[in-house]
């Protein structure tokens, strides 16, 4: 996961999104679908960024507040918010974001390494950046988002 798939293919597509008021993006092949926010079933003893679980065609899918996970204040979900269903390794997880903007097609040499400044929960989750016009967008490393990371192996 630390090396995105840009190595082999010249062209990559990313879905850009807004979480915590900032731009981020996710590599498109990791995305399964995009849905409107629906109320969740709360899980006991869960970290703050785990909102709960939803029923996705019979499967139990945990929903993560991406903003909260990245160190921003929690999103107060409304009907306007969006859930991005992603596949992380062999798990399916939903990410609550403020909005989804567009599909960004870039050639792989446009993807830059994350400049390493001070490490925090946001920079840890970023695997690279892409300049877009005057601004830039940050590629999210999904593996760092796994709920309950590190002790679910059993």
């Amino acid at each position: 996961m630390s090396h995105p798939t840009e190595a082999q293919s010249g062209h990559q597509e990313f879905v850009t999104l807004v979480a915590g008021g900032q731009n981020f993006c996710i590599e498109i092949t990791q995305i399964r679908e995009i849905r409107r926010w629906t109320p969740v079933t709360i899980l006991p003893h869960s970290p703050a960024h785990v909102l709960g679980v939803i029923n996705l065609r019979g499967a139990v899918i945990p929903i993560i507040d991406l903003a909260s996970k990245l160190g921003f204040p929690k999103i107060n979900p409304t009907e306007r918010h969006v859930i991005i269903i992603v596949a992380i390794e062999d798990r399916i997880v939903g990410l609550l974001v403020e909005s989804v903007s567009e599909i960004l097609g870039v050639s792989s040499d446009e993807v830059r390494e994350t400049p390493r400044g001070q490490e925090d929960s946001t920079t840890r989750a970023i695997q690279g950046i892409i300049p877009v016009g005057d601004d830039m967008t940050k590629i999210i490393s999904l593996a760092t988002l796994l709920p309950n990371e590190g002790q679910v192996a059993a």
């Binding site: 995305i31 079933t41 003893h45 970290p47 899918i61 399916i92």
Partner: protein, 739 residues
């Protein structure tokens, strides 16, 4: 904001590409071979066990022989030389046994059992593409060889057979053998040439091949399809028995007919046999020539003997077919269908959805309050019944008998007994009991551990047993049975029973209990399951593999089961494992707590109580007790155990669920309200999220919402958890599942 519409089917594409690569194809064929080996090894173990128990008859020996032979044959096709070599030696010894030249005494049976184990190991090694462990294989090979003596027994045998022929030269017989190999025949690596050569060893033969089935053109030709029918007439054997033996392993892989043709005049026999001493075997390219032989023979046909033969053939064929038909059920008692488990799982999920959908419709209709809806509801009930029926049917596909699991334990027990120098028989009962496939798979490790423990710690050494006035040989019983919606598996030893003072001492030494604690026998017994209770001070290399009984308990709890111990000093210990019948469906009570809908498994609820003030007592500020039938039962607030704010509703406005489990004698769980009882489809939380303390899974309600399933035992015993809804953002440390 633009929604993304794009097919995401890369996975499917990759799968297709993989399937196309030849390595995968080879692997698939090999996998099929290993799957078949599993079945054959089960048959082998079964046969050997019967033989050891003195219940074996000739058919048992034959079955064992066939299993080894089949493994050898298929292994040969894959050039698994270690496996072939060992299976060959094993088979040779078994052949001696079935011919009655080797007596099945204890020494031989012991070696045969070891050989069975080694064969299983070799199959495993081949599957893992690992080299065979020669240190283990060679001693057993030598043991097998010891029973065979120095010379090759086959030579001797053939000689005898020939002399028999000479002893009865007056009645030369002719059999007409006709066989058409099927595709499966060739796939199993058989060669018609070998069969014909074997027939030629019985006497003089005449071979012809029928090529009518062969397609005219090369188009549509399937390379491994059986197009040919071989006709072999054999002069010599008096009965068809030696011929049947040759075809023993392929008789269900080819259409075999054997007809007896009495030769009245010896002269004619001489005539044919003189011309046929050399064997014509036609293969591949020379088919045309073979056809010529066939027609030639047909032209020769109208000789007197053939005229009598032809009409005689049909009536003769009938009894043969009948004999084959009666033999079949015995041989292949369980005709099975191999299905990819994923397909079954998909079906189970779909049926689960159907059940949920059905309850959604019921709920909607009830809410709609339609006039004259009586008929509609009757129809709906039918729908419900049908859906349940389909569900049961689908679930039963996953059910498997515990037999293969139990048979693996026979070996574990044997090895454990050898390693500890104890004399132990493992008796299995209720092998036909069926449980969910996953349960069978996941029980292997806990059972292995418990069997080893029972032999290592439970059963005493022979001399100790004799002193105690017991039989020197210990008995370990492994039983499975179905009791009111649960499967109960028991491991019962007739050993010394649990050494409670010692267990207590260890627990005190490990700081699991305080030295002053007053513990009942049952409480001491349960210390065995406490995490950190590993009797490392005295474990042998056998059971001390870093796994304690707590791991056993965790594994069984993960399957929705429970373990209980009962032990009588001097008489033995019983571990009983209670498991739900199916993993995917359970009866649950729908409850609400703190605004959330949840499910409590009915199986653990003894009764529900709406308490009056008189039923309640208090210890201090926070500990409430329920007085019921003279007992005081602690009350646990479900909401606060799950991390919600403690309800300020008085207990008299709430409902108490009286819970009883193996480890928790009694406990009352306070919930806000109870609703109905219904069958629910259990969904795993583990696959996408992980384990949550106090929650065993989730289900989907009629309205499509998810409800969590409570694990009453974890709630009742619930020690202190991490603070509820922690505010920090560090990855995943809030879920401390072990405490």
């Amino acid at each position: 904001m633009r929604p993304v519409v794009k097919p995401f089917d890369d996975e499917a594409l990759i799968t297709v590409i993989r399937r196309l690569t030849s390595r995968m194809t080879d692997r698939a064929i090999l996998d099929a071979f290993f799957e078949e080996c599993e079945d054959l090894l089960v048959a082998l173990t079964e046969g050997l066990t019967d033989m050891c128990a003195g219940q074996g008859d000739d058919e048992t020996v034959n079955a064992v022989f066939r299993a080894v032979h089949s493994i050898k044959g298929a292994a040969g096709a894959f050039a698994l030389d270690d496996l072939v070599g060992f299976a060959h030696k094993f088979e040779t010894v078994l052949d001696e046994v079935r011919a009655g030249r080797l007596a099945t005494d204890d020494a031989l049976l012991r070696v045969l059992q070891r050989a069975g184990d080694i064969l299983a190991d070799l199959v495993d090694a081949a599957r893992e593409e690992m080299p065979a462990n020669r240190d283990q294989v060679d001693p057993v090979l030598n043991d097998l060889q010891a029973f065979l003596g120095e010379e090759e027994p086959e030579e001797e045998f053939v000689f005898e057979a020939l002399s028999l022929d000479f002893a009865t030269p007056a009645v030369p017989q002719r059999h007409r053998v006709s066989f058409a190999p099927t595709q499966a025949f060739y796939q199993a690596g058989n060669d018609p040439c070998q069969l014909i050569t074997a027939l030629a060893d019985l006497g003089s033969t005449e071979v012809a091949v029928e090529i009518d089935e062969l397609p005219e053109k090369f188009e549509g030709y399937v390379w491994n399809k059986g197009y040919l029918r071989w006709h072999v007439s054999v002069d010599g054997p008096e009965t068809d028995l030696p011929i049947r033996e040759i075809f023993e392993f392929v008789d269900d892989l080819c259409d075999l007919q054997i007809a007896f043709i009495p030769l009245s005049e010896p002269g004619e026999n001489d005539e044919t046999s003189s011309g046929d001493t050399a064997l014509d075997v036609e293969r591949g390219g020379s088919v045309e020539h073979a056809d010529a032989v066939d027609t030639e023979q047909d032209e020769l046909g109208p000789t007197p003997e053939d005229e009598t033969a032809r009409p005689a053939e049909d009536p003769a064929r009938q009894p043969t077919a009948k004999a084959a038909a009666t033999e079949k059920p015995a041989k292949r008692a369980a005709a099975t269908l191999r299905v990819d488990p994923d397909r079954v799982d998909r079906l189970i999920n779909a049926v689960g959805e159907l059940i949920i959908n059905q309850s959604v419709i019921s709920q909607r209709l009830q809410e709609a309050d339609l006039p004259n809806s009586a008929d509609l509801f009757a129809d709906l009930d039918d729908y419900k019944l049908l859906a349940r029926e389909i569900q049961e049917g689908v679930m039963s596909i996953r059910a498997q008998p515990v037999k293969p699991l139990f048979q693996r334990m026979l070996r574990i027990a044997r090895e454990a007994a050898d390693a500890t120098g104890k004399d132990v028989t493992l008796v299995t009962e209720g092998e036909a009991t069926e449980v969910d496939k996953i349960v069978v798979e996941r029980l292997a490790d806990p059972l292995t551990h418990m069997i080893r423990n029972a032999i290592d710690h439970g059963i005493e050494k022979p001399e100790v047993r004799r002193e105690a006035g017991k039989q020197a040989k210990g008995t370990l019983r492994l039983t499975a049975s179905q009791r009111s919606g649960s499967i109960v598996i028991e491991i019962i030893d007739d050993g010394a029973g649990l050494n409670r003072p010692k267990i207590r001492d260890i627990a005190v030494a490990k700081g699991l209990v305080s030295a002053e604690a007053q513990l009942s026998d049952a409480e001491i017994d349960h210390l065995l399951f406490a995490p950190g209770f590993s009797t490392a001070a005295e474990v042998t290399n056998l059971s001390g593999r870093g796994v304690g009984m707590d791991v056993v308990k965790t594994a069984i709890t993960a399957l929705g089961g429970r373990v209980a111990i009962s032990s009588v000093t001097g008489e033995g210990t019983t571990f009983s494992i209670t498991l739900p019948l199916t993993l995917a469906v359970m009866d649950g009570m729908i409850i609400t707590v703190d605004g959330q809908t949840m499910v409590v498994p009915i199986s653990s609820i003894v009764e529900t109580v709406r308490p009056t003030a008189a039923d309640l007592s208090q210890i201090g500020l926070n500990n409430h007790l329920l007085r019921i039938r003279g007992d005081y039962v602690p009350i646990v607030d479900l909401g606060s155990r799950l991390g919600a704010v403690k309800s300020d509703k008085p207990l008299t406005d709430r409902v108490l669920l009286l819970i009883q489990t193996e480890t928790v004698t009694q406990c009352a769980i306070a919930v806000d309200d109870i609703h109905d009882q219904r069958q629910i489809v259990v969904k795993s939380m583990q696959s996408n999220y992980g384990q949550i303390t106090g929650i065993s899974g989730a289900t989907i309600l009629g309205d499509g919402k998810i409800a969590l399933i409570i694990d009453p035992e974890a709630i009742a015993t619930g020690a202190q958890h991490a603070p509820p809804f922690p505010t920090d953002n560090t990855e995943g440390e809030a879920h401390v599942t072990s405490h």
